[in-house]
């Protein structure tokens, strides 16, 4: 018994430490610190506390809310999670998958006027990969930037 412990002390202690760390990761409070973005409802719940602080906001592009001016690269849309809506203003060409209903994450600050000014715009794609339905063509907004766009 004593011999056993002497020989295997370090591996066993090491394993115990590893298991403890793993348990802490799983059941500890880490999940609150590793959130990549807030949902619109979470951001709205912060109220004035959120104003003018750098934050990431994620949700879906509210269908019908997109206003895109391809001459000035001015993009306005609403991010929704069903429980709350936040209006977003962004400049620059959006990623090619940007469209109604797509998941997006924006980085920026929300102003006192409750408009979110985004400095960057990322797409959060779902885990679904499907062939398009017969005759379906994705609406690719960035194509409006090209003169010879196929209509």
């Amino acid at each position: 018994m004593n011999e056993f412990w002497k020989k295997r002390r370090w591996p066993i202690l090491g394993l115990a430490v590893i298991l403890a760390a793993f348990g802490w990761l799983l059941f500890g409070g880490l999940d609150k610190n590793v959130i990549f973005f807030l949902t619109p409802a979470e951001l709205l719940a912060k109220g004035p506390d959120a104003v003018d602080r750098p934050v990431r906001l994620g949700g879906q592009v509210k269908p019908g809310s997109v206003q895109w001016d391809e001459k000035s690269l001015d993009l306005r849309f609403v991010i929704t999670d069903g429980a709350g809506d936040v209006a977003v203003h962004s400049t620059g060409s959006p990623p090619q998958m940007f469209r109604d209903g797509m998941g997006v994450v924006v980085e920026g600050r929300v102003g006192a006027d409750s408009l979110f000014r985004a400095s960057s715009l990322m797409i959060k794609h779902s885990n679904e990969y499907r062939a398009p339905a017969e005759g379906q063509r994705p609406q690719e907004m960035y194509r409006t930037l090209f003169k010879d766009q196929p209509k």
Partner: protein
């Protein structure tokens, strides 16, 4: 004691393994061509979906390689053993290459689809940490001269590093990330699933072949180390 001619008979290069390597390479070509041919452009990302056939298998083989490191390292810690040590080192090295490949391919996929090469979400960050740990593992092995100490220390790091594998895998479910959760056959069109499965096997074969070749090389190096030791002790 180890004899000077200690060339692990199991680790001797053989024609059978060379044929397996040729098979693995041909199967990889077949799987890639088939997957690209049978998959129509995805309704959201078009042809970019095809990066799935290299990025996802690379990630899976990374996990598998580090799982081998974990098993071999535990065996080293609890029973000792030269072969387990060498196999762990070989799997770690090949795994690190696939880990880097996963990150590089993921970045190439992320730029056109997400809009960014990189972002610090839990999935991307933990995958990078995994790579750094195993680069550390390989550096540690290079720095420690005494084979027995090298085996024990690197086994400890190997187990610690492999703990990160389930964390990387589950990160998209445990935490809110930019990276989407795992796809499943229910979220993929059948053609995409078939293409992915074919390439998963292709990458598996390549992984086995590379770990095997690395293990043969490691065993030869170890035999040379033993020969040096014997000479230093006055043998011939």
């Amino acid at each position: 004691m180890h004899s000077i001619a200690h060339a692990d008979p199991i680790a001797t290069p053989s024609a059978r393994w060379a044929w397996f390597g040729i098979f693995a390479l041909l199967f990889l070509v077949f799987a890639q061509v088939t997957a690209v041919m049978i998959s129509v452009p995805d309704r959201d990302m078009g042809h970019l979906q095809k990066i799935m056939y290299v990025h996802v298998p690379a990630a899976w083989t990374t996990f598998l390689a580090f799982f081998v490191v974990a098993i071999c390292s535990l065996r080293v810690l609890f029973r000792g053993g030269e072969r387990d040590d060498l196999l762990a080192a070989s799997a770690a090295e090949v795994g690190a290459v696939f880990n880097a490949l996963t990150l590089a391919l993921g970045m190439m996929w992320g730029r056109p689809t997400w809009g960014v090469w990189w972002t610090w979400d839990a999935r991307l960050t933990s995958t990078l940490v995994l790579l750094l740990i195993f680069i550390g593992y390989l550096s540690l092995r290079a720095f420690v001269d005494d084979p027995e100490r090298r085996a024990t220390w690197s086994a400890a790091v190997g187990v610690l590093g492999a703990i990160n594998v389930p964390i990387v895998y589950m990160s998209v479910r445990w935490w809110r990330t930019l990276h989407q959760v795992q796809s499943a056959p229910s979220t993929l069109d059948p053609a995409y699933t078939l293409g992915l499965r074919l390439n998963a096997f292709a990458f598996l074969f390549v992984l086995i072949f590379l770990i095997r070749r690395r293990y043969e090389a490691a065993a030869l190096l170890r035999a040379a180390e033993h020969a040096d030791d014997a000479r230093a002790l006055g043998g011939r």
